[in-house]
Amino acid sequence: MTAALTALPTAFEAVKVDYAAVGPMLVVVAAALIGVLVEAFAPRLLRHTIQVVLTLTALVVAFVVLVLVSVDHHGVTVGGSIVIDGPALFMQGSLLIFAVLGILTMSERFGGRSADAFTPMGAATPGSPAEAAADRAGYATSEAFPLTMFAVFGMLMFVSANDLITMFVALEVLSLPLYVLTGLARRRRLLSQEASLKYFLLGAFSSAFFLFGAALLYGYAGSSDLSKIASAITTANGDLEGLLLPGVVLTLVGLLFKIGAVPFHSWTPDAYQGAPSPVTGFMAAATKLAAFGAILRLAYVGLEASRLEWRLGVAAIAVLTMVVGAVLSVTQTDIKRLLAYSSVAHAGFILVGVLAFDRTGVSGVMFYLVAYGLATIAAFAIVALVRSGGSEATHLSQWAGLGRKHPVLAGIFALLLLAFAGIPLTSGFTAKFAAFAPAIAHGGLAGVVMVVVGVLASAVTAFVYFRLIVLMYFTEPTGDDVAALTPSIASTIAITVGALGTVILGIVPGPILDLAGRVSQFIQ
């Protein structure tokens, strides 16, 4: 302890900040703050337009800064809290693209005056006169856009956090806006608010686990810095050995919660179902990517040396996740819950790649996340379009015969489902291959077992997706007035990008795989 005391600086030293490296984050957070001011000062009727333009511009600027400037500024910065390296940049770039697509789907108005997915007044009691009045007056929760930007900022920080404190702050910054966004659905508001509350409670619960784990790791290593934890593990003399394993497990639990791994997945179906569909799409794609980014960094930079002690536990979680996600998706009757369980199963598939502990595993996981995210955002954008009597038709029986009424839309959805099922020539197949092959090559017996389970589980999920395709194309419509609305140009762009990405990553995955492979080295 005395050693630690003497190491304290006698005088204050300002940390070095490489502003070019963290530029994209600064742009995003600045836009979020300006967005809040817009909410405060801009006339009500103009807010939606201003917010959409502002957020999209900021995201594009952030992406340009990332590609042109930040790529040349690798290294640890902000006093060791942030590290900008290949995986961080790759995932930040993917996050910004997901955010653009997510904002595009969220801005969908369907000819109305405000974003159609969001309630006109979040504070009003569902079904109350105040809500109806707000609706008549054309109020809108355009706060959704700055909230999304805050979440994006948190995610950008999450994938580049180099110590546990920063990681925790990022976790909270990305989570809190998402809790709020989940509760803002325009229709079925009680369901939405219930989902929001559950997500918040369980999220807080898991944050507590993470924080406790981080405290134990700090106690073990004397530092929350990931690389210092790594060196502490290799040079440990065994005194504090008892702190390591609980610390590792508890921090990982906090992160596994975010990806929806079993048994920390219970919030997923409820939150996915209750949240406005565009938010669900964004959340599923971006949160998953960010959380896996953090898991990769924690596992590969901080805890790799101790992996033999905890790998089996996470492998068991991966197996459980795949099996439970796949099996439970079979009996779902709601399209959003079905996609939620499918997302749980996908989280398991990706974990298989994580546990390879090899550079190829990192690139495979990153590729999988991009492929899955693109398909997911497009899929939920389509879910938002299928309506009956003004609200989303999410019961599967309402999707019967959709292929006859809307062949193009149903065709795109079928393509996305094929990708989820991992059928060759779609991104899903390449992604599964990229994630599973390293697990077989480097994962030993556990890797092989996980891949076998993974392939079996994907056979089960394939049945679910095929059944849905059969339902859309070969079953008579139920006679409800279910119809797909014509998407605006923004949604059309998002769906097109998602579908094209799915095809391109399936047929010519080379460039992206190549990129992911080249940037898969973490800075230790």
Binding site: F205, L250, P424, G517
Partner: protein, 650 residues
């Protein structure tokens, strides 16, 4: 020439030149047809089926030209590699795809395109009045394209793409008349069983990737001899699982009988001539893996022998003409599997029998379709009889197929099946006696049930009512139009002569030698003339017994109760009951939770495995109570469990 030197030679396949360089056209032509018909919509209704047929023939012509170019080259330089596109060029994942045009694949190409095109022609007549004719032809074209991709692929990965493609086309075509719930269920069953096979295939591919660093045939074959024998055995067994599912081999045979729900041309093309033989192709193509894993090879032979008998016994009791033919297909593929499991002595004969079988079985299926066409789509043979006078062409063409499958000289089957029986008698210890004996007995049973089918349908007393007497139940048997009979005639010629032509001077086996390897002169444990004589005797006995029962004697219109064996065979030897007992019962009472739409069985009791998963799913779903407190408890339990388990382990 030993097989190792051969493998080395295989690794240095020359790049294609001339017409061979355009081999992609083989796949692209029918694929373009499928795309045009599906995307073109109603605009193509009028002429879509003609376009599809023309493109299929065009693909055949390309195949013929490639063959001619190949014949022009020397014996050892015939194989050619056609570069494709670099599927995954990144870092460690080097996955290049291309086509391998060699003696084996070209044989398949010609079989697929020729029989496939004939069946396109036949379908013009058969599907003339179907409102969804355009879609049917689009799916047929899709099937031909996928099947060609499957056999032309130069790597297991591309093969797998074709493998999935034929599965998809088969699924779409079995369920083509999905307004009938039983048909949709049959499609789902086929889908399920094939997913089991796909699991085997995908794991095999990943295992190859991990072992050899590549999944193209050349690298895998070159490395097979050096890799560990355990790996090779596992690999072989995984491939066998895939092959069993696709080729309806024991114990994954249950889907084929139900697949007969599809339109008859589909049964002829997919479930007799081509797709179901893909498993045999896979085994022969992977011969170097199986050569390095004798145990896996033995498993192939055992699976083949069991299926051979299984299909034959089931075939004896089926009264549905298509299901009887399906059982026969299963049994004949059992022969091919058995041959493929015998090692180098059998590979060429497996493929040879596959080709001749493709002709005579497709011909017989088309004949069955023609009979159904004239009999108001009835399939129960107990309601047929004496049709030879009413459908002369169908009778003659079917008769030629019948003679071929019986193995009567000089028809096709004699040349291919007898060779397999002879090869089965080669070896040491118990194997030749068991495998040879089964193959020989199987030939006798085959003769019985095929003669039964033939006599019940075309001979004996008529057991149907004429339309003049009873307009409601009566039928008016008549010959089918020319678009249907011409393909039957062409296939009948093949059934008659193909075997003789191809085996002239060992031409076909010699042709395949550079691919599957030559083998030394080996002698069966019994003298060849003895085997031949015994087989023919059994065949004659089987046919004569069938003649007594189903031609000379009266055939009951309603099936008699029959002996226990008959009852078992009629129920497919209780395959569904066994599946049910093993997989289904645990979840049966919960299966209803699966049905959520229209009770049509789109999603209902699709397969026993589905029911089990559905049951498990319903039970697990109860954990999802909707209460945040129980979710939190689940999380806490998870944390404690993981922590506790790791603590104990360390």
């Amino acid at each position: 020439m030993n097989s190792l030197a051969l493998l080395a030679a295989e690794g240095e396949v020359a790049s294609a030149t001339g017409i061979t360089a355009y081999a992609w056209l083989l796949v692209l032509l029918p694929l373009a047809g499928a795309g045009l018909l599906l995307l073109g919509g109603k605009a193509t209704n009028a002429w879509g089926h003609l376009l599809a047929t023309a493109l299929s023939w065009a693909s055949f012509v390309v195949g013929l030209l490639v063959l001619l170019a190949m014949v022009g080259r020397g014996h050892e330089e015939r194989a050619a590699h056609v570069g494709g596109w670099n599927f995954i060029p990144a870092g460690q994942f080097q996955l290049e795809t291309g086509l391998l045009v060699d003696q084996l694949s070209i044989a398949f190409v010609l079989l697929i395109t020729f029989v496939g095109s004939l069946i396109h022609v036949y379908s013009i007549g058969y599907m003339a009045h179907d409102p969804n004719r355009r879609k049917f032809f689009a799916y047929l074209n899709l099937f031909v394209a996928s099947m060609l991709l499957l056999v032309l692929a130069d790597s297991y990965l591309l093969l797998f793409v074709g493998w999935e493609g034929v599965g998809l086309a088969s699924y779409l075509l079995i369920g083509f008349w999905n307004h009938n719930p039983a048909y949709a269920t049959a499609a789902n069953k086929a889908f399920f069983v094939n997913r089991v096979g796909d699991v085997g295939m995908s794991i095999a591919i990943m295992l190859m990737f991990a072992t050899f660093g590549s999944v193209d045939f050349a690298t895998v074959h070159a490395g097979a001899a050096e890799a560990g024998s355990t790996t090779m055995t596992v690999l072989g067994l995984l491939l066998l699982v895939g092959a069993c599912a696709k080729s309806a081999q024991f114990p994954l045979q249950s889907w084929l009988g139900d697949a007969m729900a599809g339109p008859t041309p589909v049964s002829a093309l997919i479930h007799a001539a081509t797709m179901v033989t893909a498993g045999v192709y896979l085994v022969v193509r992977s011969h170097s893996i199986f050569d390095a894993a004798p145990n896996a090879q033995l498993a192939v032979a055992i699976v083949g022998a069991i299926t051979l008998l299984y299909g034959a016994i089931v075939g004896c009791a089926k009264d549905d003409i298509k299901k009887a033919l399906a059982a026969s297909t299963m049994s004949q593929i059992g022969y091919m599997m058995l041959a493929a499991g015998l090692g180098p002595v059998g590979y060429a004969f497996a493929i040879f029998h596959l080709i001749t079988h493709g002709f005579f079985k497709a011909g017989m299926f088309l004949g069955a379709g023609s009979v159904m066409h004239g009999m108001k789509d009835r399939v129960d043979m107990r309601g047929f009889g004496g049709l030879s006078g009413f459908m002369k062409i169908t009778w003659v063409t079917f008769g030629l197929g019948w003679l071929a499958i019986l193995g009567v000289p000089p028809f096709s089957g004699f040349w291919s099946k007898d060779k397999i029986i002879e090869a089965a008698f080669i070896g040491e210890g118990w194997r030749p006696w068991v495998f040879g004996g089964i193959a020989m007995i199987g030939a006798g049973i085959t003769a019985f049930y095929m003669s039964r089918l033939f006599f019940m349908t075309f001979h004996g007393k008529k057991r149907w009512v004429d339309e003049h007497e009873d307009a409601e139940r009566g039928v008016h048997p008549h010959e089918s139009p020319l678009t249907m009979t011409v393909p039957m005639m062409v296939l009948a010629v093949g059934s008659g002569l193909l075997g003789l032509v191809l085996s002239w001077g060992g031409m076909f086996t010699h042709w395949l030698e550079p691919v599957v390897g030559a083998h030394g002169e080996e002698h069966p444990v019994l003298a060849v003339p003895v085997i031949m004589a015994l087989t023919l005797l059994l065949v004659a006995g089987g046919a004569a017994y069938a003649w007594m029962l189903y031609w000379r004697d009266e055939v009951a219109v309603v099936a008699p109760r029959g002996s226990l064996v008959t009852q078992a065979a009629r129920a497919d030897l209780y395959q569904d009951a066994i599946n049910e007992g093993l997989f289904m019962r645990p979840g049966t009472h919960l299966t209803r939770a699966l049905v959520f739409t229209d009770g049509k069985g789109v999603d209902g009791v699709a397969g026993s495995l589905a029911a089990m998963i559905g049951g498990a799913s319903s039970r697990l779903r109860r954990v999802q109570t909707g209460y945040a407190r129980s979710y939190a408890l689940t999380m806490l339990t998870g944390v404690v469990a993981v922590l506790g388990a790791l603590w104990v382990m360390n």
